[in-house]
Symmetry: C2
Subunit: 224 residues, 2 copies
DNA sequence: TTATTGTAAATTGTCAACAATTTGCAATAT
DNA sequence: ATATTGCAAATTGTTGACAATTTACAATAA
């Protein structure tokens, strides 16, 4: 009975809509619901054991997040991110990561530098062991931490959204798992720049890094 | 009867939810609904002549846009943008406008330069006549055009959202009407930089311009 | 006076049902 | 064979109703 108790406790702090929204988001990003596919409100409602109300509310939120599009009288569809969209997103993201670097360089603490260094070291290990999955997770945390440390809530929210949007494209192409040949050397450069507390240098290092990622991504997308 | 006909035609291309969403957004940005105020679903529903369903769907969208927040069992509230929030948004916006400048410098056409020059000239006129309202409108179009011309859809959408968010804060303080002492000189510098097709110079000019706006804004907010 | 408790009203969260629209598909015509 | 027409089923858009929760406020106690 602890399960229903848990469920009830959850509903006092979260509405069904937000739980459903997270669930649908998960399914979209994992690829369980394909790009371009329609969200079947009835089907999803009965599968999740809720009515269509929360489903539709969740979908409205996901539309504003850029994960769904809506066509009147036809329904909600998983957004199809074009190559041009992905390029646009990469450019915006590189610009924002540059801001993160510029901001962070002037305020980063030794303990924060330590955290980043640890992540880079772990990535070295993962790289040597060809543990791509772990490398990917560490890489993602590395970027997340940099944004977190910059302490700009809007920046954090936007970066989070951009990464999700890229996933919407990425999962079609190989990417992530494949490692995309991310060089840990760039990460070391970034940490060095941050340690020097030079905003311009740190911003440039991060911008270069994302732009390099964009190039790798485009090269990989070319193949498919 | 042409009115109901119009209304019906509209509903075939737009859902009630999106119409309601625009309406609520308008009320928030105009200040008709105060920051921190709760959205009364029943009240708004009967006032707009719709049921609570579309109202709630619209609110979910506005939450994701950052104009509303939601508290379980308490409802939707107009977001209260703090001074720190505003600073964060300005920093993000200056970074994105820099990207717009960098992008645009390499691809701007003579006709587009002409459009921007015309706007600057009109602003000169409005400035001389102390027509603050017109100056504000022209100033806004100037920035919108620059973003449009950069042809990055994500950038455009994000900038639009950031401007709305700033309005949420600014409308309390004086803002716009007060003119905030925006110097047209900075605009001329921006156009010159774009004409030189130098990405770095154009990006820097725009970043400086928004940062200057941030300073003016903070100084004005200090007074209140 | 100030806190506390209890109850009624207001409000939100969710659901089920109905009307309007779209989709699927067979029957028909070209 | 291809296009067109005409239903029937599926699906979306919207509504009204009901349960759960919060808010407002009067009655009571300290």
């Amino acid at each position: 009975m602890t399960q229903t108790h848990e469920a009830l406790r959850l509903l006092r702090s979260q509405s069904l809509s937000s739980v459903v929204q997270d669930e649908i988001e998960q399914r979209i990003l994992s690829g369980a619901i394909a790009a371009g596919a329609r969200i079947n409100e009835n089907g999803l409602a009965s599968e999740l054991g809720v009515s269509r109300g929360p489903i539709r509310e969740a979908c409205r939120g996901l539309v504003e997040m850029g994960l769904l599009t809506v066509i009147v009288n036809r329904g909600f569809f998983v957004r199809e991110v074009t190559r041009k969209d992905a390029i646009d997103v990469y450019d915006v993201r590189s610009s924002l990561m540059r801001l993160a670097g510029e901001t962070l360089a002037g305020q980063i603490s030794d303990s924060q530098l330590g955290t980043l260094e640890k992540l880079v070291a772990d990535m070295d290990l993962a790289e040597n062991e060809n543990d791509f999955e772990n490398f990917y997770a560490l890489n993602r945390e590395f970027h997340d931490r940099i944004v977190d440390f910059a302490e700009n809530d809007r920046l954090r929210a936007l970066c989070e959204g951009l990464v999700k949007e890229l996933h919407l494209y990425r999962r079609r192409s190989l990417l992530q798992g494949g490692g995309l040949n991310v060089s840990n050397h760039e990460h070391k450069e970034i940490v060095e720049a941050l340690r020097s507390h030079d905003p311009t240098r740190a911003g440039a290092a991060l911008e270069r890094h994302i732009q390099a990622g964009k190039k790798r991504f485009l090269a990989a997308a070319e193949i498919e």
